[in-house]
């Protein structure tokens, strides 16, 4: 019999060769092996737990879900509860009434049924109202597509936009590698634009323009610009004037603006606030016709951190009806996104308000989480900056720190000898000495010759001092070993 039909040498090369995703890549798999080793042979390693700082997965590290949201979801999962007297003493009154009204908006109160392929209409109405209230500009339920997390929406847009390897998408470097992976999977060209580390990861329009023109001169048809705001892994929050320049740039160059805004509720500095690109565009006087814009939001981040629910949406504006039909058609092949995620997205965009029974406890939970994140961001940033050869930009938002590590030449050579990228080599040594799992900067892209790691700010606050001290010991020993 001939060689097996499905073997690596005859798989889709876009999958095998081109597509990488370091957030759950090699270092993480090694960490999982070490974790098993800790279970089977306790004491065999210089640390007694693995600390996963590689992925923005807050609840896996002890962050608690928002009580009100879970109350509503539980009631929607098992609506029979609403008929029982005991429910009133177990659930808050506004959770009961919210669940009741959500169920009323679902045909047949059937949370187990496939919904409309864009998501349940009543929930989209709530989300549109939430967007309008956030931005001060109207939003339309028909522009919203609820998806299993924000990532499937990104894939859909890449699929729509990329026809062949000559279609390019401008992506920030460093970027969240969903974008590079998705572009590779769909056979397109990633056109990088570099964020400026020395100016707090600023975005220079002049660099954007240069990259665009370079790409075009090579025959690349650049179709869209990805902006991640707040940034991942870089954590910067764009200034409004910067956003205005970006909007104008897209309009002038005929680019679709893909605005990844999943960290919109993670802002840790007082001098910056989140402005959606939609709000910026409308405030500039740009209507739908001026700018095709896709805005992504998720239930995975913020203060709610509900990664496992896979909830999110994209709001698409500025697209013609025939194009919207195509987007709908692609969405319909998967029938619909999971209903729990849809409900959660409507809750995130429409949380308890002043006067609601749950407002005080909701606000306390929210503030508690966000303030703690801000403290952890600062503590880790300061710790990194105090280490030899490391400079770390502030995390103004999102969930990550992306310190720049000036690796000595000897370390770079040792890495080469071990057939690893220098930052991967560093990250692996860090893991083996301390149990701390980070993602090497090469997984996100960086200016050649610079090295970074991405570390989340998510471990519980009481663990942070130990993480800092373990990291410090490791780094000092590493530098002692490899210093020039």
């Amino acid at each position: 019999m001939a060689a097996p039909s499905v073997a690596v040498d005859n798989l889709n090369p876009k999958v095998v060769l081109k597509c990488e995703y370091a957030v759950r890549g090699e270092i993480v798999m090694h960490a999982q092996r070490l974790q098993q080793q800790l279970q089977t042979q306790p004491g065999s390693l210089p640390f007694d737990e693995i600390l996963y700082c590689n992925i923005g997965n807050p609840q896996s590290l002890g962050q608690q879900p928002v009580t009100f949201f879970r109350e509503v979801l539980a009631l929607c999962d098992h609506p029979c509860l609403l008929e029982r007297e005991e429910t009133k003493s177990l659930f808050s009154a506004d959770a009961i009434s919210r669940a009741t009204s959500i169920l009323a908006s679902i045909p047949g109160r059937a949370t187990g049924a496939y919904s409309h392929s864009q998501g349940i209409k009543g929930l989209r109405d709530a989300i549109a109202a939430g967007i309008a209230s956030r931005d001060g500009h109207p939003a339309n339920a028909d522009d919203i597509f609820l998806t299993d997390g924000a990532s499937p929406g990104v894939h859909m847009m890449m699929q729509l936009l990329i026809r062949n390897e000559k279609d390019g998408i401008l992506c920030p470097i460093p970027q969240y590698p969903l974008y590079s992976a998705s572009i590779a999977l769909h056979g397109g060209a990633l056109v990088p634009y570099y964020l400026n580390e020395s100016t707090g990861w600023g975005l220079e329009i002049s660099d954007l323009k240069k990259q665009l023109e370079d790409a075009r001169s090579k025959g690349i048809d650049v179709r869209a610009l990805v902006v991640i705001n707040p940034g991942n892994p870089t954590g910067q929050v764009l200034a409004e004037e910067n956003q205005e320049d970006i909007v104008k740039f897209c309009k002038n160059e005929g680019l679709v603006l893909l605005a990844d805004e999943v960290y919109q509720e993670n802002i840790y500095v007082d001098n910056k606030k989140f402005n959606s690109f939609k709000k910026v565009a409308r405030s500039l006087g740009y209507s739908e016709d001026d700018l095709p814009l896709v805005s992504f939001q998720s239930v995975s981040k913020g203060y709610y951190g509900e990664c496992g629910k896979r909830g999110g949406y994209m709001e698409i504006t500025g697209f013609s009806a025939p194009v919207r039909e195509q987007i709908y058609k692609v969405a319909s092949v998967n029938l619909c996104s999971n209903i729990t995620g849809q409900i959660l997205a409507s809750l995130v965009m429409n949380p308890p308000k002043v006067g609601d029974a749950s407002y005080a406890s909701y606000k306390a939970e929210k503030d508690g989480i966000l303030q703690s994140l801000a403290r952890r961001a600062k503590a880790l940033e300061d710790a990194f900056n105090n280490l030899e050869g490391i400079t770390c930009n502030k995390a103004e938002g999102a969930m990550y720190l992306f310190p720049n590590i000036c690796l000595p030449q000897k370390a770079i050579e040792a890495a080469k000898a071990a057939n690893k990228a220098p930052d991967a080599f560093y990250a692996l040594r860090l893991l083996e000495s301390t149990g701390i799992v980070v993602v090497p900067g090469s997984g996100f892209g960086q200016v050649p010759g610079t090295w970074h790691i991405r570390c989340t700010i998510l471990p519980q606050e009481e663990k942070i001092p130990a993480i800092i001290s373990r990291f410090k010991s490791f780094h000092e020993a590493f530098m002692a070993q490899y210093r020039n």
């Binding site: 499905v6 879970r70 177990l90 209903i339």
Partner: protein
């Protein structure tokens, strides 16, 4: 040529052609028209998609109790929780929460929670009598996502062909279009109960190869969708031998394995048949099997829970599939718990067992009655012939459209079965999917409806259909005898 002004990147002409080629009739023209009519106030009976809860089937109680408790673990701390949740639901919620550190709100392993995958492996072992490896079971957001991932991995370019049954569930044709591959159709034989004809299939493969197509995989849907036939062990053996000889990976869509309405051919999995065949085939034939929580008697479509199991795939291939899964981070956790509950339901002796068994039995027996009702109802209509729905959730009657109807359809710019289904919709509110959405032989027309409307509504629905069909045939029948092409 490039740059602003004029042509915009998201103008219709500038879209990925593969996207434009995609068709998915299940939520296509008929469904959109039905939705419009519904907005105008017309009562619509949606039988276009296998969506049981939308037509009044109630969720099973036990899984909803367990997931509600997992969703709001603070309930488990309340001393009164035992008043409204049975002890076994409480225990099971704790069981799943222990498996999912971080609870329902954390990304799990990209392949799914290991403990749930183990439950799936144990289910497969009990079902088939052969051990199953949890490492080769990946949970997905519905079976469809798994199908998409596999086809994306296999299809390299337009010369890669995938054998797909006709009629088929149009996820397959849509996915093949999206990934730029070639659909190689093999026709099921309607007169032979939608049976497989391997002589024809061999010819089809040879013909595709002569056109430069490399046939890589074969899709089988068992029980069939839309056709409902249940394959015999002999059928499946022949299929596997064929795949062995022709070097194809078999993609076995087994999502309807709980929906069996006759006793002659109970469900038997492709994997069991493969292992029964012994070496060399049992070690060589590559197989991917798909299952879901959306169908069966669970019908939990909205949860988006599914899995695929890989058999005889080389480790490096599995690594690549893992890589693709990891970009999606993880399947939704509540859906994973539904899957765990489905493969590991209450057992005799459990507090919730009797209620669970009664609910399940009631749904399955009703489906069996409705399958018969609908088949008989269609067969009693003029110019309609309908194979029995042996399994799955659909009825796929053949409508022998008179020539004058076909001509009228052409004048209206519509495929003949689309024309019929639109008229049916407008007259009765019954929203179906025309057979052309699934594929059929040239000149033979069908529609697909589900057997899911509530049992008490069935007689009225069938009589409404019959009345419509009678007047349609009165209008268009030319009285001459109709011979099947």
């Amino acid at each position: 040529m490039f740059g602003g002004g004029g042509r915009k990147p998201l103008d219709y002409d500038e879209l990925n052609e593969n996207v434009k080629k995609v068709q998915y009739a299940v939520r296509g023209e008929l469904y959109l028209r039905a939705s419009e009519l519904q907005k105008e106030g017309k009562k619509i009976i949606f039988t276009n998609v296998g969506n049981p809860h939308a037509l009044g089937q109630k969720p099973l109680t036990f899984p909803r109790q367990v997931v509600a408790l997992c969703q709001a673990p603070f309930l488990l701390d309340d001393p009164n929780v035992g008043l409204i949740f049975p002890a076994d639901a409480i225990a099971r919620a704790k069981h799943y929460l222990a498996m999912a550190p971080g609870g329902l709100g954390a990304y799990s392993d990209s392949r799914g929670i290991p403990g749930v995958r183990k439950e799936v492996a144990e289910f497969i072992q009990r079902r088939d009598g052969y051990p199953s490896d949890p490492e080769l079971i990946y949970l997905t957001d519905g079976a469809s996502k798994g199908v998409m991932q596999m086809l994306n991995t296999i299809i390299r370019n337009e010369r890669d062909g995938i054998l797909v049954p006709v009629p088929q569930y149009p996820l397959y044709s849509a996915a093949i279009s999206l990934f730029g591959g070639s659909l190689v159709p093999y026709y099921l034989e309607e007169e032979a109960n939608w049976g497989l004809d391997f002589v024809n299939i061999r010819q089809t493969v040879a013909s595709a190869r002569s056109k430069g197509i490399t046939v890589r995989a074969m899709v089988i849907i068992n029980p069939g969708n839309p056709t409902g036939q249940c394959l015999s062990q002999g059928n499946i053996k022949e299929l596997l031998s064929f795949c062995f000889q022709e070097n194809l990976v078999l993609l076995a869509d087994e999502v309807y394995q709980q929906n069996i309405y006759q006793d002659e051919r109970p469900f038997i999995s492709a994997r069991k048949v493969l292992f029964d065949m012994g070496p060399p085939m049992s070690r060589e034939v590559q197989l991917v099997s798909f299952h879901t929580v959306s169908k069966g008697y669970w019908g939990e479509c909205g949860q988006r829970g599914g899995y695929f199991e890989m058999t005889n795939l080389p480790p490096k291939t599995v690594d690549e599939i893992y890589k693709v899964a990891s970009i999606a981070l993880s399947p939704n956790v509540p859906g994973q718990i539904f899957m765990g509950l489905m493969v590991n339901p209450p057992k005799p002796g459990d507090i919730s067992y009797l209620k669970f068994a009664a609910e399940s039995k009631s749904i399955l027996e009703s489906l069996r009655r409705r399958a018969r009702l609908m088949t008989d109802g269609f067969n009693s209509c003029r110019n309609v012939v309908c194979n029995f729905t042996e399994g799955a959730m659909y009825s796929f009657p053949q409508i022998r459209l008179p020539q004058r109807a076909i001509d009228a359809a052409r004048r209206a710019g519509k495929a003949a079965d689309v024309f019929y289904c639109l008229k049916l919709l407008e007259a009765t509110g019954i929203s179906t999917v025309p057979g052309s959405g699934f594929g059929q032989k040239e000149g033979v027309f069908h529609l697909r409806t589900t057997i899911l409307p509530a049992e008490e509504d069935m007689p009225a629905i069938m009589s409404s259909f019959k009345n419509f069909n009678d007047s349609f045939m009165d209008q268009y029948d030319d009285g001459s005898s109709y011979s099947r092409m």
